[in-house]
Point group: C2
Chain length 204, copies 2
DNA sequence: TAGATTGTTAATCGATTAACAATC
DNA sequence: TAGATTGTTAATCGATTAACAATC
């Protein structure tokens, strides 16, 4: 069965909310309550979950811990994922320092830049800037599944193409472009400027 | 006429693509070409644009410069916008250093933190960390329209509520929560971890 | 048992796309 | 004029929601 992408995009929000509830001593949660927490209708939550199994009990709701574990498994969050980053400028360094990836199970294990002068520079323990020529070999030997793109807009598409040809199947793109995507490759774009520009419409 | 939010979310992508074309010497662009550039169907582009006016010429396409100007006006991008940021930790500092906002016409003109020890610390020219108690007054005297939230998850909702009560109408939230939104306030959430977690589903 | 809430189907709603007359 | 492409309507597609039997 082909599961709609919108559904997949909501699952991590469920995981996040369940983790939060898990810190309290509530053991059960209803679609009603979860929906209120996330501003999503209970019907939608039940429908979304029903794509993956029957996790609830009528009359009671969902066991928080159990549902959390199941969703983590669905999203394959029960393991560690290795990522590499390309482009070690201001933005790249900020991404490397971003405190949210590690706790979520994502490790940046390699860093690349096309500027030869940066090569060899240490970023933090165990992370040294490598030349971009080593991209494919490092990806393969270090079991890297995710590429993070932090190069200027002009070079972003080429880097994405390289990642794809090296066998990377998931790309987090910070460059302000609408990338052409390759078959079988998922891309998510992070563009705070675009987000701001879509809000000013509502301002006066 | 109520314009669908999905349409508003696409307009900045059109602006971005048009700016790019504008650097070349193409003076005209068809919905076909623009669509190829953005991986969007030509029909959708024409439909989206038709909400705001008739910008094209049959048989020729759209004048790049003209369409760009019109869209900038629609999105109110033809002026400078002032933003403030709350939470000057690792993440907050990275956001302040983010090189994409300035060129797009967004200025971070004030910085706040609840930690008294940080207050008074200079961040960059003209930007000194202020106590959060000064939030409302600074927003009003400095004509701040946008709030950028970079505090820990636990405090994010409270900060968003404060911003709302100070009259801020647009919020860019970097905290990993699903905020409750107030009436008449737009929020966009930036959460790279969520983006990664929705990609691992497709990996093996 | 009575009350509550799931899982699922069918109805609704909204967004995307195809098609084409208008016209540059 | 012939060719191309818009703007717009109607058809299609897909996602959300309402409703309710099943059942804890």
């Amino acid at each position: 069965m082909e599961i709609p992408e919108v559904v997949i995009l909501r699952l991590p929000m469920y995981v996040r909310a369940l983790k939060q509830i898990n810190k309290t001593d509530f053991k059960l949660v209803s679609s009603q309550e979860l929906g209120k927490l996330l501003s999503i209708t209970p019907a939608q939550i039940r429908k979304d979950l029903s794509y993956f199994g029957r996790f609830g009990k009528q009359g009671r709701g969902y066991n928080v811990n159990y549902l959390l574990d199941e969703l983590k498994q669905v999203l394959k969050l029960d393991k560690q994922w290795n990522a590499c980053i390309i482009g070690i400028g201001t933005l790249g360094r900020a991404i490397i320092r971003y405190p949210g990836f590690g706790p979520a199970g994502f490790d940046i294990v390699a860093a690349f830049d096309s500027n030869i002068n940066l090569v060899g520079q240490p970023i933090r323990k165990g992370l040294i800037i490598q030349p971009i020529t080593e991209l494919c070999s490092t990806i393969k030997t270090n079991n890297v599944s995710i590429g993070i793109v932090a190069v200027p807009a002009e070079n972003a598409q080429a880097v994405i193409d390289s990642l794809a040809s090296c066998g990377v199947k998931a790309i987090l793109n910070y460059a302000p472009i609408s990338p052409f995507t390759h078959n079988g490759i998922v891309i998510r774009n992070i563009d705070p400027t675009l987000a701001l520009q879509s809000m000013t419409y509502y301002l006066d």
